[in-house]
Structures are given as structure tokens and as C-alpha cells.
């Protein structure tokens, strides 16, 4: 629908609609359309196919610029998993644990969501499925104490990787965000230099609020990577373009289902192509 067309105002309006519908966001969409119009004028582009290719290149460039992999090159290696409520943190940890275990690492999970009903039991099922050890406390206990116990355990047993599951929290709740800071401090105090990886989990169905989520979490603990879940739905998750561009956080993984094997390393080219499919 964007190929073989004349480059005119109507074409750019339809392109604007396509980008908005992919959740690229108003600000980023307007900037992209503006740049494309300038380039079309400068290079006297008449073919819509060329504009589309130009746009894809722009988007791929943004995502590739802040590309990153999860490199568990030293031990112990601590992965801290954060995000708002219901995005898929606990499920992602189960999937990630299985993947890392298959690479021959010894993994331990910390059930630091001591707040939500049955959060600990939910992670226990995943630990069992991924065949990894889990450290838990009592429901209602201080999450920092569970993290402390988990660190003592991995030090004692010389495990390779610790993955910390946290309670979902809205980024506009100050007390909950301070709790994240406190947990991070405990980790760096007990294991200087850790956590090496702070993963923010985002739901692909989320609109522009994902940007404010990423900003807030980055500000409170810094974020080293993003996991974009639920891409097996129909949402495109285009908001990660803005997050990459403005906050310079690499997208590391995508969630494409509810089963343990439904985790993939992020592929920028495939992602951009799917935005227009």
C-alpha cells in the first residue's frame, strides 16, 4: 500500500497514520515524516518505494546504534528485572533462565516479589521448569532481604548467574521506585560492580506511556537492556524506536508467547520489516 505510489501530501499522511498505528508515537512520527519530506525534496524523490526504503533504513540505524547483547562473561553475574505491573517479568525470567542454563551456566532465581499474591509460587514453577535453584522468603518479607539471602547463596555455591524477579510497580509511585534503588544498593554492596544487567520489561501493547516508564526506570537505577514482550499479539511495539533514540537503551530480547521457549534475541532488521508488514 506504500509501494508504487506518487510522493505527495496524501502519501505522507498515510505514512504518518501507519507509523502512529505501530505505536511509534506522535513526537517521533512527526520528526520522521519531517525528515523524509526534506530528503524527498532535496533528492527529488518521486517513487514512494524509495521513501519507504529510506524510512526503514532510518529506523534500522536507530536500533542498530544502540544494539546490545546479554553477555554473561564474568561470574557471579547479576540480572535485575524491572517493570510495571503485568508486563511479563516473571515469565521472561523463566524463559531466560532456561536459555542461560542451556548455555551451561548455573542459574539461581531470587523471588523478590514478596508483595503480590502467589508471585513466589509462580516463579517457583518457572524455576522448576528451567531446572534452576530458587531463593525465596516469606510473603510480605522485605524484598531486599530475599536478595541478600540469594547473594549469600550464590557466593557459597559459586553459581554463575543470579536473576532477580521484582514486583510490578508503576513508575509514578515514588515509594515503590525508591524500593528498587534500595534493592540495587544491596546488590552492589554485597557484589561490587553488580548488577551487570538491569533489564526493563515492556509490553508491546503499551502506547506512549512506555517512554515515560523507560525514562523513570532509567533515572532511578539506570537500565542496560529492554525486553519487549507479547509481540505474538498484533501490537508492533514501535515505541522502542523512540526509547532507543532518546534514551539510548538497547533492546536485547523479545517475548513471543507464554511458553518457556518463547524468547528470542532482538533482531533490528526483522523488527523494522514487521512494522510495515
Amino acid at each position: 500500500v506504500f509501494k508504487g505510489r506518487e510522493v505527495n501530501e496524501e502519501f505522507f499522511e498515510e505514512l504518518e497514520e501507519k507509523l502512529i498505528l505501530a505505536d511509534i508515537g506522535v513526537k517521533t512520527t512527526l520528526e520522521l515524516i519531517e525528515d523524509l519530506k526534506k530528503e524527498a525534496k532535496k533528492k527529488k524523490i518521486k517513487e514512494s518505494d524509495e521513501i519507504l526504503e529510506l524510512l526503514k533504513e532510518k529506523l534500522k540505524k536507530i536500533l542498530l546504534k544502540y544494539k546490545g547483547k546479554l553477555k554473561t562473561e564474568h561470574k557471579p553475574f547479576v540480572i535485575f528485572v524491572l517493570g510495571v505491573n503485568g508486563v511479563g517479568k516473571t515469565t521472561t525470567i523463566g524463559k531466560l533462565a532456561k536459555q542461560l542454563k542451556s548455555e551451561g551456566k548455573s542459574i539461581v532465581l531470587a523471588a523478590a516479589d514478596t508483595f503480590r499474591a502467589a508471585a513466589i509460587e509462580q516463579l517457583e514453577v518457572w524455576a522448576d521448569r528451567a531446572d534452576t535453584r530458587i531463593i525465596k522468603g516469606n510473603e510480605g518479607a522485605d524484598p531486599a532481604s530475599v536478595v541478600f539471602d540469594a547473594i549469600q547463596s550464590i557466593k557459597a555455591k559459586e553459581d554463575d548467574i543470579l536473576v532477580i524477579d521484582t514486583a510490578g510497580r508503576l513508575h509514578n509511585k515514588e515509594r515503590l521506585m525508591k524500593e528498587i534503588q534500595k534493592i540495587k544498593k544491596i546488590v552492589s554492596r554485597e557484589l561490587p560492580g553488580e548488577p551487570s544487567e538491569i533489564l526493563l520489561v515492556l509490553d508491546a501493547n503499551t502506547g506512549q506511556n512506555a517512554i515515560s516508564q523507560a525514562k523513570a526506570f532509567k533515572e532511578i537505577t539506570d537500565v542496560t537492556g529492554i525486553v519487549l514482550t507479547k509481540l505474538d499479539g498484533t501490537a508492533k511495539g514501535g515505541i522502542v524506536i523512540a526509547i532507543c533514540n532518546e534514551l539510548k537503551i538497547p533492546i536485547k530480547y523479545i517475548g513471543i508467547g507464554e511458553k518457556i521457549e518463547d524468547l528470542r534475541k532482538f533482531n533490528p532488521e526483522e523488527f523494522v520489516e514487521s512494522l510495515f508488514s
Binding site: N85, L170, T206, N209, T234
Partner: protein, 291 residues
């Protein structure tokens, strides 16, 4: 806020008796952007701004109010109207009544089931909860624990791997023990998963609910329209619950979902605790959408 944006877009307005075309176009662009920034679906925005245009063109500017204020008032009033002017509340006609909760993964169904149960209990109703989520790890335990917190019984059959069957059995228990209301929590499912949509339909046929509430996350983006429509077309809903309104999401999904299904938004989830549950107020969400 919106008035300020429209004002700066329009620049100096000479006092006119009516809103003229040029002023209106500039104002409409700001309104369109504000709604898109609030995550209202693109097509819904386009239809909505057309309605605003009709209302505003040639409308009389009230004495003592300038054109910008007039336009913002029109937008606000139309938005409140579009979001559902009066909350009808739950329509529980049968005895016993059944409420079915459906929606995408992680939208807040299980938490909402408990909140709704507590809300009805406070109204003096005898409530039974059940979970037919046979998939998610510890889903049934989650509802069981929540039920315990609010002292409401939860009917579970953890060894039956058939959601529709458990629902039927829960309804039998509801009748046997003279409960007023049965609330059925279902597994999260994709709106494009035919098998799971079929399951939802089977559950619905087995319990013949008075209300089928679509639970939708307030921070959902552009796909909200397709998601809601698919659930409505394939399962059928009688109302909507918007959750996580305690976030700073603008909540444009409210206009999109109500707009495309025509179904009323009945409740708002405003936190993780059981009491964080209220009737949906269209005027509050309208001003938040407009930013």
C-alpha cells in the same frame, strides 16, 4: 494544557462572535495531536475531530468566553459524552447472577475479580469466586489467596483441565449454596488466538453471564481498537473495566475501546489493593486524556 496549546497555535484571536474556519483548523490540529499523544486510536481521533468540527463550526461563542475556551469546552463535553455520560453500573438481572471477566494477558483480570467480589460483598451480596485459568502457573492459587484476604470463598478444581467444565461446576455450586453472584476469572488470551476465543465462548455458554466484562489496561496503545473489537465480535462483552488508571498513562484507550464497541466502561482499577476500585467517571478520564 490543551487550551494553552490551542491558544499558541492560533495566536492572536480577535474577539469574534463565532469560531471561524481558520481558527478552527488550527485548533483541531492541536486537538488531534493531544488525542494521539494520549494514545487514542488514529481512526477514532479522525472521527472524533470530525464531530468536533461539526459542533464548533458556526457555534455561538458564549458571552464572556473566548473562542479557544469555547473550543476546549466543546471538546471536553463531546469527550465526556463519548466516554459514557452516566454510569449504569452492573446489570445483574438473574438469580444467581454471573459475571465473566475476559481480556489480554496481564491486564488485571484476577485482581479485578477480587476487587469486584469485595465491592459486591460490601453491598450485602453473597459472592462466590472461581478461576478457570488452567494455564498460568499459580493462577488459581493467586485468586485463592486474594479470596482469603477478603474472606470470600473461591471455587477451584485444580485437576480438571477444562475451563468450561470448571465454570459449569462453579455455577452448580453457586446455585446449591444460594450465592447471589458468581464471578468467573479466566486466563489471559490473545484476541487472535482462535482456540482460546472458542474456549471463552464455551465458558460463556456454560454460565450464561449477566455481565461479560472486558478488562483493559489503561496504558494500551493503538491496538486497543482491534483488540476490543475482536473480543466483542468473537466472545461478546457487556462492559469494560479499565485498570491501572493510577499510572500516569493518559488513558486514550478509554475513548478507543468505548468508541469501537459502544459498550459502557463500568469500573476503574486505580491500584493494586482490593479497595483500589471505583465506578468509572468519564469526566475525570476526559480531562486526563486532554492533558
Amino acid at each position: 494544557a490543551l487550551a494553552g496549546k490551542i491558544q499558541s497555535a492560533i495566536g492572536k484571536i480577535t474577539k469574534k462572535g463565532r469560531i471561524d474556519e481558520e481558527t478552527l483548523n488550527k485548533g483541531l490540529r492541536e486537538i488531534k495531536l493531544a488525542l494521539l499523544e494520549a494514545d487514542v486510536n488514529y481512526k477514532v481521533v479522525s472521527d472524533f475531530t470530525k464531530e468536533i468540527r461539526e459542533k464548533a463550526l458556526g457555534s455561538e461563542v458564549t458571552k464572556g468566553v473566548n473562542a479557544v475556551q469555547q473550543l476546549v469546552k466543546i471538546v471536553n463535553d463531546e469527550l465526556v459524552k463519548a466516554l459514557g455520560e452516566k454510569n449504569e453500573g452492573l446489570q445483574l438481572k438473574n438469580k444467581p447472577s454471573v459475571i465473566l471477566l475476559i481480556g489480554l494477558q496481564g491486564s488485571g483480570k484476577t485482581t479485578t475479580a477480587a476487587k469486584l467480589a469485595n465491592y459486591l460483598k460490601k453491598q450485602g451480596k453473597k459472592v462466590l469466586l472461581t478461576s478457570v485459568d488452567i494455564y498460568r502457573p499459580a493462577a488459581m492459587l493467586q485468586l485463592k489467596k486474594l479470596g482469603k484476604q477478603i474472606d470470600i470463598p473461591v471455587f477451584l478444581q485444580e485437576n480438571i483441565k477444562d475451563a468450561a467444565k470448571i465454570a459449569k461446576n462453579a455455577l452448580d455450586r453457586t446455585k446449591e449454596e444460594n450465592y447471589d453472584v458468581l464471578i468467573v476469572d479466566t486466563a489471559g488470551r490473545l484476541h487472535i488466538d482462535e482456540e482460546m476465543l472458542r474456549e471463552a465462548k464455551e465458558i460463556k455458554e456454560n454460565v450464561n453471564p449477566d455481565e461479560v466484562l472486558f478488562v483493559s489496561d489503561a496504558m494500551t496503545g493503538q491496538e486497543a481498537v482491534n483488540i476490543a473489537k475482536a473480543f466483542d465480535d468473537n466472545v461478546g462483552m457487556t462492559g469494560i473495566v479499565l485498570t491501572k488508571l493510577d499510572s500516569d498513562a493518559r488513558g486514550g484507550v478509554a475513548l478507543s475501546v468505548k468508541g469501537v464497541t459502544g459498550k459502557p466502561i463500568k469500573f476503574a482499577g486505580v491500584g493494586e489493593k482490593i479497595d483500589d476500585f471505583e465506578l468509572f467517571y468519564p469526566d475525570r478520564v476526559a480531562s486526563r486524556i486532554l492533558g
